[in-house]
């Protein structure tokens, strides 16, 4: 008896598949397949867009970076578009960052406890407004007053050397790099705010309290305990906001003025990689179409680089804060 194999539990006969195994394996395969889909879709996007854009790359070579977008003569240099994308995103981040940091500080360190949640919800409401509504508002409400403002600033700075080139020829309709930058700034504020807020919330209260106990004012506490701890987090948030600003299409398309070129005149019309696709793709053929898809590829590449950089910075922040008390 001792040498016999122990009796199998009831319901489990030797050699028969245990109950539920198929379902289990099936589910696992299903989940795996879903993960695979992401891989497949992204690979398809990369392959197809690069393939469609190839005629442009081979026709222009390095000329794709020249500032010569001229469909009439079959020249497609995207230099002006890359410049426009970077300029609008840059203006947007520049305008949005101080505001976002201010709101985050307000929520974490200044506002009374009770109103923090409602404030967070309110700012998230800004994030929920669709991009086309922002564009509509910017076009119909913001553009005209901005046009007069730009004219006033332009007249006022006409004799000041550097500023006069920046503010030289304000667009009469208000459609310009600056207007696009302003509306995109409003759009990315909730994102940067929410990331910055989360980073500020991870500051150990022990450090904050220590600063206050030593007699620091609130501002000194913020400068001494919050900022140093959150520097890389803020950088990461900024870069995420930058990435979002670069990918913005519709709101920019409505107010940028459709004039691809590299110019210092930020009150004048311009164009970005995303908005030129929205405006010209429908009618484009041959090399023009390839060039527009190529603009999408360039834009995609830039956003990947920025998101990789942001992730690297975030990873560094995680490692850093993991080490702190």
């Amino acid at each position: 008896m001792a040498t016999d194999a122990p009796a199998l539990p009831a319901g489990l006969t030797k050699g028969k598949r245990p109950p539920g195994l198929i379902a289990d394996r099936g589910f696992r395969i299903l989940a795996l397949a879903a993960g695979l889909m992401v891989l497949v879709i992204l690979a398809l996007i990369a392959i197809y867009t690069t393939r469609e854009a190839w005629p442009w790359f081979s026709a222009e070579r390095l000329g794709i970076f020249s500032d010569n977008w001229d469909p009439a003569h079959q020249h497609f240099g995207a230099g002006g578009l890359i410049y426009g994308t970077l300029l609008v995103a840059g203006v947007a981040v520049l305008l949005s960052l101080p505001i976002s940091v201010g709101i985050a500080l307000f929520v974490t360190d200044v506002a009374p406890e009770r109103i923090r949640r409602p404030i967070v919800y309110t700012v998230d409401l800004l994030a929920a407004i669709p991009s086309v509504v922002y564009g509509l508002w910017a076009l119909l409400v913001l553009a005209e007053p901005l046009a007069s403002l730009f004219q006033t600033i332009s007249d006022a700075t006409a004799s000041i050397p550097i500023l006069s080139t920046l503010f030289a020829n304000p667009s009469a309709s208000g459609k310009s790099f600056m207007t696009a930058g302003i509306i995109v700034a409003i759009m990315i504020t909730p994102i940067i705010t929410s990331i910055t807020r989360e980073v500020f919330a991870t500051v150990p209260s022990a450090q904050k309290e220590a600063a206050l106990a030593l007699g620091a004012t609130r501002w000194e506490m913020i400068r001494g305990a919050v900022f140093p701890h959150s520097r890389s987090g803020m950088v990461a948030g900024t870069m995420i906001g930058l990435g979002r600003a670069m990918g913005e299409t519709i709101a920019i398309a409505l107010v940028i003025g459709s004039s691809p070129r590299i110019t210092a005149n930020i009150f004048g019309p311009g164009d970005t990689l995303a908005s030129i696709i929205a405006n010209q793709f429908g009618e484009a053929s041959g090399t023009h179409r390839a060039a527009l898809i190529g603009c999408g590829v360039v834009l995609f590449a830039i956003t990947i680089l920025i998101s990789m950089a942001a992730r690297a910075v975030v990873a560094r922040t995680d490692r850093r804060s993991a080490g702190t008390v």
């Binding site: 469909p71 009439a72 003569h73 667009s171 009469a172 004039s259 019309p269 009618e283 484009a284 053929s285």
Partner: protein, 366 residues
């Protein structure tokens, strides 16, 4: 038991919200839409110049043929030609024929140009205090090129003796999209002011940098309407609807002619019609002809895989050449002159594969 009801509580309403709508949609369309013979959907895109006419004639046509739905998405002649070439739409509107290079890339086989109406391209402007304006082709060329920058320029003054012109800066509005209107307007400038106009012709040209760009004819109209000192080229129907002021343009005979339907008809009647029913009424001769009269066509294939579509298209075209011509004048377009109309009617018969051969050019003229 509690666990299961617990997450079912979330799952069920969510599944309802998410799944019911497309499901309901599919059911509704299967149950609701009777698959009648003769019911068809025709999708088109293209010229915004003809869009006001298309909207009016489609509305009238639908009352007679309620089971034919016609969707026209505009987007500019360039888009229309491209979509038609890719066979993504059933028909397209265009104010200019294919270039030779593009014609070779049309994928759907033999196609026809069906002229529908004609209309003036206005030179609309916004200048406070100036109610009447006359412009010659040379002056126009210099304005749109950016050589003339203010309204009190001597050239404009020369065209308008006795009119007090302010020193406002000129804001030029052009099309941002690939446009048949641009092609015809620049075609006129190249024909009437060949030495002054240097930007060439085409559905897009390399406009100077600091001008304003608008999407579609109404987009240009919007810029003119909202900016003091602005000038732009807009189709007549939109310019009227936006209550813009238009300039009279000097024609080939030396007379300043205002953009009207009558003056357009005078120009179109003079134009020579090609075998494929394309023609060029720009810079027409004759004292009363408006020099910037624009033609416009609908592109239709000879063969469609869906017979109902071919029939619907033929009915639509026949309507355009029947009652549709009366609709034209109601929306400020010029109906076709008789000889062109007859040729067009004859060409309709060829849609739907009644004529063979994909390489033979247009039908024998009647």
């Amino acid at each position: 038991m509690k666990r299961i009801t617990g997450y079912l509580r979330w799952l069920v309403p969510t599944a309802l919200i998410v799944g019911l709508v497309p499901l309901g949609g599919a059911i509704a369309s299967a149950v609701g839409a009777p698959a009648q013979g003769g019911s068809a959907t025709l999708n088109g895109s293209g010229s915004t110049f003809q869009q006001p006419y298309n909207e009016a004639v489609t509305g009238a046509f639908k009352q007679k043929n309620p089971n034919v739905t016609i969707n026209y998405s505009g987007g500019g002649s360039g888009k229309g030609r491209q979509d038609f070439s890719d066979q993504v739409v059933d028909f397209a509107g265009t104010d200019a024929p294919y270039s030779a290079a593009d014609a070779a890339n049309v994928k759907g086989g033999k196609y026809f140009y069906f002229p529908t109406v004609a209309g003036p391209i206005t030179v609309s402007y916004n200048l406070s205090g100036v109610k009447k304006l006359q412009l010659s082709a040379e002056t126009l060329a210099k304005i749109f090129q950016g050589d003339i920058k203010t309204w009190d320029d001597p050239a404009i003054k020369a065209d308008n003796p006795g009119v007090k012109l302010p020193s406002t800066a000129i804001t030029v509005a052009h099309r941002s999209d690939s446009s048949g209107t641009t092609q015809n307007f620049t075609g006129f400038l190249a024909a009437a002011a060949p030495t002054a106009w240097t930007l060439g012709t085409g559905s897009t040209v390399s406009w100077p940098a600091d001008q304003q760009a608008g999407q579609g004819n109404p987009g240009v109209g919007q810029i003119v309407k909202s900016t003091d000192g602005a000038i732009g080229y807009v189709d007549f129907s939109d310019a009227k609807a936006l209550k813009l002021k238009f300039a009279s343009v000097k024609n080939k005979a030396g007379k300043f002619v205002a953009p009207t339907v009558k003056a357009t008809t005078a120009a179109v009647e003079k134009a020579q019609v090609n075998a494929d029913l394309t023609y060029n009424p720009l810079n027409a001769a004759g004292a009363s002809a408006y020099p910037i009269a624009s033609p416009t066509w609908i592109l239709v294939y000879q063969n469609y895989s869906d017979a109902a579509k071919a029939t619907a298209l033929k009915n639509f075209l026949n309507y355009i050449y029947g009652n549709g011509q009366k609709v034209a004048s109601q929306v400020d377009y010029a109906p076709l002159p008789k000889n062109l109309l007859d040729k067009a009617k004859a060409q309709v018969k060829q849609v739907g594969g009644t004529s063979s051969g994909s390489t033979s050019s247009a039908p024998a003229s009647t």
